[in-house]
Symmetry: none
Subunit: 219 residues, 2 copies
DNA sequence: CTCTGGCTGACACGAAGCTGAAGCGGCGGA
DNA sequence: TCCGCCGCTTCAGCTTCGTGTCAGCCAGAG
């Protein structure tokens, strides 16, 4: 397993690197976001350990950029305890886990193992739904064998439906899913995104229950 | 989603319970391991929040017992920061995640959502009533295996009957259920909706008590 | 038979939902 | 640093369909 470590603290970084190496994994250690960007472009990693406070920016942006490009490499965030909002932001930005500094190196190993286990078993399971083939882990959708590009919000919305197939979901519930906690949408955003999803995936995927909400249609 | 909360701290427990309820999930809260054991035996949960330090033992043992019995219900551990070894032990014992106390309630929601997404796919409980199969969570009704589409008002009315099966409900009571106080219906609306429900669900579902009201018929 | 209360088809209104378009902000490339 | 692209939100006008109303019919009770 190849691991990318992004951490600017030389002492902690070295300790982590040694621990991972001792576990028999291969590590690349960079100390800046620009170097991290180069690294993920030039190599493929199975796991990224990401510190949030770095000399050339916050790790959150890096993570968001990664996910925006469709990169689904599992990411574990390394963060200080008092940065609760960072942790939430990180999870919402697509992180898979976080570790609170200071942490025990044995715990790091356990978490790495956990993430590895979660993502092992390639190839990814494909969910089929009528003419759609959905790879949840890779966040990709194919319609009649042709790839469909979904934006972040579209995917989040679709994901909410896939999690509860056939179940009625009110707009309020969907807004919560899409906007987490700081929701301040006072418009018909959900309707608009539903409209776009239907245009991309076919009008039958999402059914309207007037006055109640939406549900994933039968295949 | 049904969640079992095992936590002996009354203040924290109440806060967690309220937060989960606010997220629209259903919570059972127990404060001891023996009660937790009874709970998992008598009901099925989608997620367990497990405090590790409890008056009648350590949560780790409970978790191990659960896994030994083949129970794969996702478990999130609630633990104090300094119990690093506990956290590792917990993860190795089969926990899916942990939260470090003190934690932000918003973070709890995020983690619950994450676990729920990962493990979603267990079917909702189905209520059967003669030829009808009703999924309350999904708000779906099947009649002889075929889906029946109910409108918002129709569902509200049907729901009122389902809440009190066999009990006589006057039109005034039903109007209250459907229109919540600001009602200014001065017509035979209820009769109309009952008629529409009967047409969709079968004429036997709702019985008329002349001069008194309606009741849900025996299956 | 009469009277009262319930049933139901028809219909018009308005709220809820849909969607094209415009404004806006963030990110990446130059 | 500036510019342009792209996705997200908002808005407005249009469409759809759920719902309340009513009228006429039906059925049970006395």
């Amino acid at each position: 397993m190849r691991i990318l470590l992004i951490e600017d603290d030389t002492v902690l970084g070295a300790a982590i690197r040694d621990q991972i190496a001792a576990d028999g994994q291969s590590v690349d250690w960079v100390m800046r976001l620009d170097a991290a960007g180069d690294a993920v472009k030039s190599a493929s990693y199975d796991l990224i350990l990401l510190d949030l406070m770095l000399p050339d920016g916050r790790g959150i942006g890096f993570l968001k950029g990664l996910r925006a490009r469709g990169d689904v490499t599992p990411v574990i965030i390394l963060t200080a305890l008092d940065q609760v909002s960072d942790r939430i932001e990180g999870l919402n930005a697509g992180a898979d886990d976080y570790l609170v500094k200071p942490f025990d190196l044995a715990e790091l190993s356990a978490r790495i193992g956990s993430v590895a286990r979660r993502y092992s078993g390639n190839p990814n399971p494909i969910v089929c739904h009528g003419p759609l083939a959905i790879d949840l882990a890779a966040r990709s959708v194919h319609r009649d064998g042709k790839p469909v590009a979904l934006t972040a919000r579209e995917w989040a919305l679709f994901d909410a439906f896939l999690a509860r197939p056939g179940q009625l979901l009110s707009k309020a519930q969907l807004e919560e899913k899409l906007y987490a906690f700081d929701a301040e949408v006072e418009s018909n955003t959900i309707e608009v995104h539903v409209s776009r999803l239907r245009k991309k995936l076919g009008s039958a995927v999402i059914e309207t229950e007037r006055g109640m909400g939406y549900r994933l249609g039968r295949p």
